[in-house]
């Protein structure tokens, strides 16, 4: 989860982290870096569009990197790689690469041109490139072995757009929300109850448009009218008609130094989430979940206290009330 407070800092760190990280990744085994790691092409007319990839061998050994075209779909937020032309929205017929087998010397890099000749100016086309580095691995000595093949997958989308780069009107980017559930709370009627601690929320989002998009979801926790936590979840990729689940919680991850809980000990808290589908840098209309109310208190401790108080009241009452004398009635 990305925290709003850290967003700018992370972005700045991200900008300058790459050169040092590249130097740090030093291995005699298969190692590859690919940039860009995501491609969205704005298709304004029928002219071919060219983008350049940088493919780098981070290994201290020479290696061969093969580039393979694939299609994909999305299942449970995970890209499922499919053979080319497996989907009706396949981009593969329109894609060409200047090279598909790259022999790279140690720490070498090359540029590869990707050219897309538009197949459609009205519908989104999608596919992916798989970059597979190969250094001759040690073979198994006998018995049973797993051979791990590392790959980098780069989704490639071609999106109809106007000459201004904005989405074509025939691309419908829209969605609606399903229910928001509080996974950590006990719901009774329309109200949930929870002990102090992390409040975990799960919201569902349905892509009702006609294009793949990435849900950008923010979940907000409000205590007595004051927002005390707002979390941006990692983007959730969604195909048209698909429902995706997004979870978020109130524990702040402090960069490998553990987690800090933001929920107060006592609170009357409402939780809601807002989401937008993003494609080609543009967003759909924002949709909002309904507010969920959760009352946070140390219910167990309060329960114990209540029992103790009730017992104390009973004892005091018993001692302070006059004893009834047993009356003896003469016969």
């Amino acid at each position: 989860m990305r925290r709003a407070l850290f967003g700018l800092g992370v972005a700045v760190a991200a900008t300058f982290a790459l050169p040092s990280s590249v130097a740090a990744a030093d291995s005699p085994y298969a190692a590859v870096e690919v940039a860009p790691a995501r491609v969205e092409l704005a298709v304004a007319d029928g002219r071919p569009i060219t983008r350049q990839f940088t493919v780098a061998n981070l290994s201290s050994s020479p290696e061969v990197v093969t580039i393979q075209q694939t299609d994909f779909t999305v299942v449970n937020n995970a890209y499922q790689i499919l053979p080319i032309k497996a989907t009706p929205w396949s981009i593969s017929n329109g894609l060409t690469l200047s090279a598909t087998t790259l022999s790279l010397k140690a720490k070498g890099q090359v540029q590869v041109d990707l050219t897309y000749t538009p197949l459609s100016q009205t519908a989104v086309r999608a596919g992916a490139l798989l970059f597979t580095p190969t250094v001759i691995p040690a073979g198994p000595t006998g018995g049973m072995a797993l051979v791990v093949k590392l790959q980098v997958m780069v989704p490639v989308l071609a999106v109809p757009s106007g000459s201004d780069g904005k989405l074509d009107s025939r691309v419908q980017l829209s969605g609606r929300t399903g229910p928001l559930e509080l996974l950590s709370a006990l719901a009774i009627g329309g109200v949930s109850f929870q002990e102090p601690g992390t409040i975990q929320a799960r919201s569902k989002w349905i892509n009702t448009g006609n294009a793949i998009g990435r849900w950008d979801v923010w979940t907000t926790w409000t205590n007595l009218g004051h927002d005390y936590a707002q979390v941006e979840s990692p983007p959730a990729v969604s195909m048209p008609g698909q429902t995706v689940s997004v979870t978020a919680d109130t524990a702040l991850d402090v960069n490998h130094h553990g987690r800090v809980e933001l929920t107060p000990t006592f609170g009357i808290i409402t939780v809601h989430a807002t989401g937008q589908l993003i494609l080609l840098g543009q967003a759909s209309n924002q949709v909002n979940t309904r507010d969920q109310l959760v009352i946070v208190a140390p219910w167990r401790a309060l329960g114990v206290l209540l029992v103790v108080l009730a017992f104390a009241w009973w004892v005091i009452r018993r001692r302070t009330m006059p004893h009834r004398e047993r009356s003896v009635h003469p016969r």
């Binding site: 989860m1 990305r2 850290f6 967003g7 992370v10 760190a13 991200a14 900008t15 982290a17 790459l18 040092s20 990280s21 590249v22 740090a24 990744a25 291995s27 085994y29 298969a30 190692a31 690919v34 940039a35 860009p36 790691a37 995501r38 780098a56 981070l58 290994s59 449970n76 937020n77 995970a78 890209y79 499922q80 790689i81 691995p137 040690a138 073979g139 198994p140 000595t141 006998g142 018995g143 049973m144 072995a145 797993l146 051979v147 791990v148 093949k149 590392l150 790959q151 980098v152 997958m153 780069v154 989704p155 979840s233 990692p234 983007p235 959730a236 997004v246 978020a248 960069n255 490998h256």
Partner: protein, 179 residues
Amino acid sequence: MGIVATSAASAASSTAGIAKFSVPVSVSVAQGSGGGCAGGTCDFGSPALGLETAPLVDDLTITSNDANGFQINGSLTDVTQDVETGTCTVVPAHNITPVGLVTMTGAATTGGTGGAGTAAAKQTVTGTAQGVFTNAGVPLATGTMDEQVSLTLVPVAGTPANSVGCSYSIDFALVVVAI
């Protein structure tokens, strides 16, 4: 995202120079030197049949500059793979299905700047890609990270004995993708 950087050297001298570069979203993956799967081969030797092996760790080095996060998806490369290989004459009857024989368990990343991610629970590997991290817990860290994926084998009791010079070899893909 594009940035323009002028070097301190050019500012200090009279030579007018400018180094211009842009930084797109980038991701890399490398087989690390640690763990039990150096070079990507996790050699389980001759495991007891019907029992799960002790885990071997595939040590990966990941770099990312994308604060949106990344996922690592694991799957069998080919669920109908002929898994017996070697210098012997392969016996077709020895080609066991690799489905259900492999488990994977990730771990939170170490290193980098930002969220380390939350590993998914132990999963049996199939032909369908499954995330090493939970959907909500993909690592958002940037920079260089170490990721350790523990792999085990669960060879079924009836696995045929290999011919001399042969072994069972299962191809397994770990695919890194920027979210």
